[in-house]
């Protein structure tokens, strides 16, 4: 393994800018690393070596011409396959989009390219971002670099695995109910779900429109913040985008790393812990709280009584919206087409295509959602779930009166073995227990590594009020600086 892949994004950008290494060398080192380990990790669905090297050459040429480079120029990145990339296959982990090549870039893809960040390829994911393990990918699961028999989290598990396996220093994920934070936690890296509306959704293949947010992964809080600044900010092409500048997250990460947390009130959410949580996870979390106290933070306990309804509410809202969002996959304009034999009627071709093209979990959610939106059931299900959302937001508002940030474990358990939960949807859904409230409230949350349990990483979730993403990064960076970094193992042969 080249030393270049051990570097942080910040270090790589510094070396590329100073001319110590070229972007092409850095990119090639990562492509080599992918070649070396991805057969075992299976983080990538599509590696674009030519495109990546061309982008790297462009950065080197820009530098040679004396033009200024952005803070992440020349840094390789792994892109979740739910984000559209012009000219690069985009499947969202589904067979129904096999072979589809988008004719346009997502806003964040465009911003990443404009920043000189090098896209290495597209990463594996649970189909249409529905899942917590990548086992719902139509292309087979990704493997956790800490233990290849275990899941790397999901749905952005390809991205988290790529960063943890040193195949890329940065990655993009999307988080609807925890799909950035839980994979970050179980692979021992940093991941952030921005405030809803803080990062453009234009070009994200929609799962649940009112919840989906793209966000950054990195191995350090600062790297993650720098990538957040590249992708964040107002986009007129997304009506739900907030017309405000990106919160100063990189500055917060830098400030946090060099200071204590005196005067900061940290709320421990009483409702996110206890029964159903692994003892090792709770122990690591308690240690993390102790560390925060040692850093000078005032620890308060807060109660969020409606968080217990987050899971049922989420599993009505997300399926309802996905049942509508996924209706467009009908074989008429793009993607898979099955049964078009000149005899089958159009409706039959649509049905056969959807039957063959969607996996079991996607079908389950489309059915739940279609039912929940049905005339006569709407008020009892979708309508009621939206009310729960309001109650959860009020819980947050009350808690943020008492505390500047809230903390909890990111996931109730460490990475579980592949196959252990796939047959039991409820066992899979409770992965999201801690991450769902911030999703439903549209508030930002960061996961930062906070130790090991059974030699597997545990994540600390740091939640802040809407638009105060910088608080997550400040606390995350201070915490990161105060603890021993995890030593991510070499991927087993």
């Amino acid at each position: 393994m080249s030393d270049l892949v051990r570097l942080t994004a910040t270090e790589i950008a510094g070396k590329v800018t100073s001319g110590e290494v070229s972007a092409v060398e850095v990119t090639q080192a990562h492509l080599d690393r992918i070649g070396e380990v991805d057969g075992r990790v299976h983080a990538f669905l599509h590696v674009d070596a030519d495109g990546a090297l061309a982008a790297a050459r462009a950065v080197d040429a820009k530098r040679a011409a004396g033009q200024p480079l952005g803070p992440l120029a020349g840094v390789p990145l792994a892109m979740k396959d739910v984000v559209v990339t012009e000219g690069l296959p985009t499947t969202a982990g589904s067979k129904i989009l096999q072979g589809w090549v988008p004719p346009f870039d997502a806003t964040i893809t465009r911003r990443i390219k404009d920043a000189g960040v090098v896209i290495l390829g597209k990463t594996n994911m649970d189909e249409f971002a529905m899942g917590s393990s990548t086992e719902n990918s139509a292309y087979g699961p990704s493997h956790n670099p800490w233990d290849l028999d275990r899941i790397p989290g999901g749905s952005s598990g390809g991205s988290s695995a790529a960063v943890a396996a040193f195949e890329a220093p940065l990655a993009i994920g999307t988080d609807t109910g925890g799909s950035i934070r839980q994979p970050a936690a179980v692979t021992g890296i940093v991941g952030h779900k921005p405030t809803y509306g803080g990062v453009s959704r234009y070009g994200l293949i929609a799962f649940s429109s009112s919840l989906d947010q793209a966000g950054p992964f990195g191995r350090t809080v600062l790297d993650t913040a720098l990538l957040h600044e590249v992708i964040g900010g107002y986009d007129p092409a997304d009506s739900t985008s907030i017309p405000q500048p990106v919160p100063p997250v990189a500055a917060a990460a830098r400030a946090g790393a060099g200071s204590d947390l005196a005067g900061l009130r940290v709320g421990v959410v009483r409702d996110l812990g206890g029964e159903g949580y692994q003892a090792g996870v709770l122990a690591a979390f308690d240690d993390a709280v102790a560390t925060l106290r040692k850093l000078g933070a005032e620890i308060v306990e807060v109660s969020c009584p409606h968080f217990q309804y987050a899971l049922p509410a989420y599993y009505l809202i997300a399926p309802s919206e996905c049942s509508s969002n996924l209706a467009r996959f009908d074989s008429v304009r793009y993607g898979l087409r099955v049964g078009d034999d000149g005899v089958n009627a159009l409706e039959d071709v649509m049905s056969l295509t959807r039957e063959a093209g969607f996996g079991a979990e996607v079908k389950r959610r489309i059915m739940i959602g279609s039912y929940a939106l049905s005339s006569g059931y709407y008020d009892a299900y979708y309508g009621q779930a939206q009310k729960v959302r309001t109650l959860i937001s009020r819980d947050f508002a009350a808690a943020f009166d008492q505390a500047d940030v809230l903390v909890s474990p990111t996931s109730p358990f460490v990475a579980f073995p592949i196959g252990e939960r796939i047959a039991d949807p409820m066992a899979m859904y409770i992965n999201d227990l801690c991450t769902l409230p911030a999703s439903l409230a549209g508030t930002p949350a960061l996961s930062v590594p906070c130790g090991l349990s059974e030699n597997l990483p545990v994540g600390l979730q740091i939640m802040a009020p809407a638009l105060a993403d910088d608080r997550c990064y400040r606390v995350g960076a201070a915490f990161e600086a105060a603890v021993e970094p995890l030593s991510i193992p070499e991927v087993a042969k």
Partner: protein, 499 residues
């Protein structure tokens, strides 16, 4: 089911109709409802599309502010309340002309509610309640290729998404009871008045034949005196004012026959046929469609600023009813004439022709008569004809001074429409002048008499009414450029009858 055709009078004697109309109006915005694609009609298929209006994965809508403004203006012109807060909703159903398999529309939170429109029918005025005016996106257009021309039995189907995403305003009336025998005319007059308002607002080109104004007509019958309304049907594909009237009439007659036969009217969608003038059942659906409406999460709620709405209200143009009242007074025409002119869409044209110097009667006759006929043949609106009111006034003047006969003036109109030249130019070029050379007319008269001795004898015998064919022959010989009355007088004189 009875196939016997009832007389309309019999229907009215025993049943009371309730009508309702849903009108879809394509707004004339430069760009589409949720993306920047152009909206020009008639472009090559699928050339006015982008990831958004094709519903490609990842694309997102952004609402067209101009379309929202137009919808509010329509609502204000129809005396509606404008919602201070409302949302778009998704209407979910699968159809290949819908790129996303849902239509972004409005459901229980429309932009405009509770208005009305007064329409004049003959001597009476009927107030039609407006339930809602809402904004949505149009679908693409399917073309089924094959002998049947319909989806069933087609060899293949083509979809043009140029229309997909064009802003569409839906205007829904409340049920209109109590119009009796006038129901078909009320329906027509409502659409005609609505069209005038939309045209005055400048929000749409309101061309029914191009589909920028489309009507669905709901009709039900209940036995006279009954308080319960009957089951309604929804008739689609009603693409002209005349068809609106015919569709209501034929559906009333059909439903009366069903009820007379002791059967129930089925709640269904029916299609109007322009050729047969009756309605046919649409494809029967195996189950009721559940559109699974829910608020569109990709768009933020609309909350029009009340002061902006008031500004739009103040800036509304003079609406057709007020304009008609003003013009009726200044032109000095009857209320009935005014309604007729309004329904034909020629009020302004008549007004401008009068302003250019023509007497109002002449102006009215031209625009309701020959010019309306020409427009009709071209499937165009009178206002779209390539002849300006001033040129019509010029023709009226030429006829009045005797330089042209009415027949010659019509030839001049045709020539103007054909060439786009002005009246004096076509008259000069084609030599369209009344032949007043008496010698020439007399020679032509003598030729006609010589060629038709039998007819001539009859006239000589005192049957002056038989002179017609001889007049015709002279007119033909002079290529229509003679004054027929003068020719008749000459013929009679030369045959020794009268004069």
């Amino acid at each position: 089911m009875s196939t016997a055709t009832l007389a309309f009078e019999d229907v009215i004697a025993r049943y009371e109709p309730v009508i309702g109309l849903e009108t879809h109006v394509e707004l004339g915005t430069v760009s589409k409802m949720f993306c920047g694609c152009p909206t020009t009609f008639g472009a090559e298929p699928n050339t006015q599309t982008c990831p958004v209006c094709l519903g490609l994965p990842g694309s997102l809508p952004v609402a067209n502010a101009k379309a929202i403004e137009s919808t509010i203006r329509i609502g204000l012109a129809l005396n509606c309340s404008i919602a201070s807060w409302c949302r778009f909703a998704r209407k979910n159903y699968f159809y290949p002309d819908m790129p996303k398999n849902f239509q972004t529309s409005q459901y229980d939170e429309p932009l405009c509610v509770e208005g009305y429109l007064d329409v004049a029918v003959g001597e009476s005025t009927v107030r039609v309640g407006i339930e809602r005016v809402h904004l949505e996106e149009d679908t693409g257009k399917n073309t089924h290729v094959g002998t049947s021309g319909r989806i069933h039995g087609a060899d293949y189907s083509l979809v043009d998404y140029n229309r997909a995403g064009i802003p569409l305003v839906e205007i829904v009336t409340k049920p209109v009871p109590g119009t009796g025998a006038l129901a078909p005319e009320v329906a027509r007059a409502y659409v005609a008045e609505l069209r005038e308002i939309l045209r005055t607002l400048g929000v749409s080109d309101v061309r029914m034949e191009q589909g920028s104004l489309r009507c669905d007509v709901n009709t039900s019958l209940s036995p006279a005196g009954s308080r319960r309304w009957g089951t309604r049907t929804e008739t689609k594909n009603v693409n002209s004012l005349r068809s609106v009237e015919r569709a209501v009439r034929s559906e009333m007659v059909r439903q009366a026959a069903v009820l007379d036969g002791g059967d129930r009217v089925i709640q269904e969608t029916r299609h109007f046929s322009e050729t047969t003038g009756d309605t046919r059942p649409g494809r029967s659906k195996e189950e009721a469609t559940d559109y699974r409406y829910f608020p569109e999460p990709d768009l933020v709620p609309l909350a029009p600023d009340p002061s902006w709405v008031e500004q739009l209200r103040r800036e509304l143009p003079e609406l057709p009813a007020a304009r008609r009242a003003r013009l009726q007074e200044s032109l000095g025409v009857s209320a009935e004439d005014m309604v007729q002119m309004s329904n034909a869409g020629v009020v302004d044209l008549v007004g401008e022709t009068v302003d250019a110097g023509a007497p109002v009667g002449e102006a009215r006759n031209w625009w309701l008569g020959y010019l309306a006929q020409r427009a009709n043949e071209r499937e165009a609106e009178p206002g779209d004809l390539a002849i300006a009111p001033a040129q019509v006034a010029r023709l009226v003047a030429l006829v009045a001074e005797g330089s042209l006969t009415t027949a010659l003036a019509r030839q001049a109109v045709d020539a103007v429409l054909e060439t786009g030249q002005d009246v004096d130019a076509v008259i000069a070029e084609r030599g369209l002048r009344v032949v007043s050379d008496t010698g020439a007319l007399e020679r032509a008269a003598d030729d006609a008499i010589a060629a038709n001795p039998g007819v001539a004898d009859k006239v000589r015998g005192g049957k002056t009414a038989a002179v017609g064919p001889l007049v015709g022959a002279v007119m033909k010989a002079t290529r229509g450029q003679a004054d027929a009355a003068a020719v008749r007088a000459i013929l009679l004189r030369r045959l020794g009858v009268e004069g």
